[in-house]
Symmetry: C2
Subunit: 223 residues, 2 copies
């Protein structure tokens, strides 16, 4: 059995969990707060980041969400999520990188720092200017998703792919933290509603981070 080291609002762990859900791979959750910098966790992953996934019977330790997703894509045939021709696969990976770098850096990361890390670790209040900037960035990035979905059923093309799972992972964390307003983003809203109702997404949406409540619409399939 796989053990996944993660915390509820880690977008990179959510990406892996959505992939495992689509592929029907079971796993146990192990709670890990990377900001506590546990020595034992650094022994497991020198980068000190979640997710890490461990298969103790095979003595296998995988880390970095990209490497983990590629591993399951290569070893489990069911529900391929990096699929199609080489250019299609490049497009999927480009969009995954866009989510993990641009969307994360401009939206998810500042929201997590201001509304999660400051509360749990620094016991200080969020900076309203940074929150406003993150929400402005979210609108700009949702515009880009709208643009993609004007031409395509799913973000990278005609079929569901890791690009959708990655975008949904970041979007759901940003939404939990009150940073997402779908007004004026009908394509993105419809696409996200479709993802929210997938069986693999339901358990994630029902989890809560202690001390931080999501907005009322957060786990509703209709929002």
């Amino acid at each position: 059995m796989w053990q996944l080291f993660q915390f509820p609002l880690c977008p990179f762990s959510r990406k892996v969990r959505l992939l495992l859900g689509e592929k029907g791979i079971g796993y146990d959750l192990v709670r890990e707060n990377p900001w506590e910098r546990r020595d034992e966790f650094f022994d497991l992953n020198p980068a000190g980041q979640t997710p890490v996934i461990v298969e103790t019977e095979k003595a296998l330790v995988l880390m970095d969400s990209g490497a983990i997703c590629e591993y399951f894509e290569e070893t489990v045939e069911k529900a391929p999520m990096i699929n199609g021709t080489a250019p299609n696969r490049a497009e999927i990976r480009r969009l995954v990188a866009w989510c993990d770098q641009q969307f994360y850096g401009d939206v998810t990361a500042p929201l997590m720092f201001e509304r999660m890390t400051k509360r749990l670790v620094h016991r200080s209040t969020p900076d309203a200017r940074i929150l406003r900037e993150a929400m402005k960035n979210a609108h700009r990035h949702l515009d880009y998703l709208d643009y993609l979905l004007d031409h395509r059923t799913w973000l990278a093309g005609a079929t569901l792919s890791l690009a959708d799972l990655s975008a949904a992972a970041h979007l759901s964390v940003a939404d939990y933290l009150g940073g997402i307003d779908f007004k004026g983003h009908e394509q993105a809203r419809r696409w996200y509603a479709g993802l929210k109702s997938r069986p693999g997404f339901r358990p994630l949406l029902s989890e809560r981070m202690e001390g931080i409540q999501p907005p009322a619409h957060y786990d509703k399939p209709d929002f």
Copy 2:
């Protein structure tokens, strides 16, 4: 013919160029300064980042260094750089991510900002405190390379892989900017000397960024 949009000190473009060099794929260089934020470049890559590689005859535009490397790995058999069993491949990808995130964030990016961006864009002087911190981080990360090379011939195992090319890409940019001191890092020095003498690395080491001179040892195979 491929056209690679890049600038001489872009570590992610260097990673791609080292891969293309190993695989013997020809390409023309197109100079792109992402900090100028050209509209035409944003039309090509909404993330606004180098590298972007274009094959005009096939109307193919690839971007994000990870997606580009995976594309050439999938389409060109020669000199496989993400090779071996699924766990081996996961280890290669984990180390590539470590270079592109940890080493880049702690060492390459602050050196580039302080010694390149400030000079070329802001016309201001580097912050000595930030430079010291980046060099301290470089020592810590070189310790990790030493540790890996204590057990392995190359960073991810018995054969040269994308992990080595990625680490060499970041290391070479940091070295150009005067941030690397190999004293006390004999394993890493020997490994890097071996990489420096590869044919694909020579042209990179001979290029210069206007207005910024590297230290004398920078392009020497013996250093």
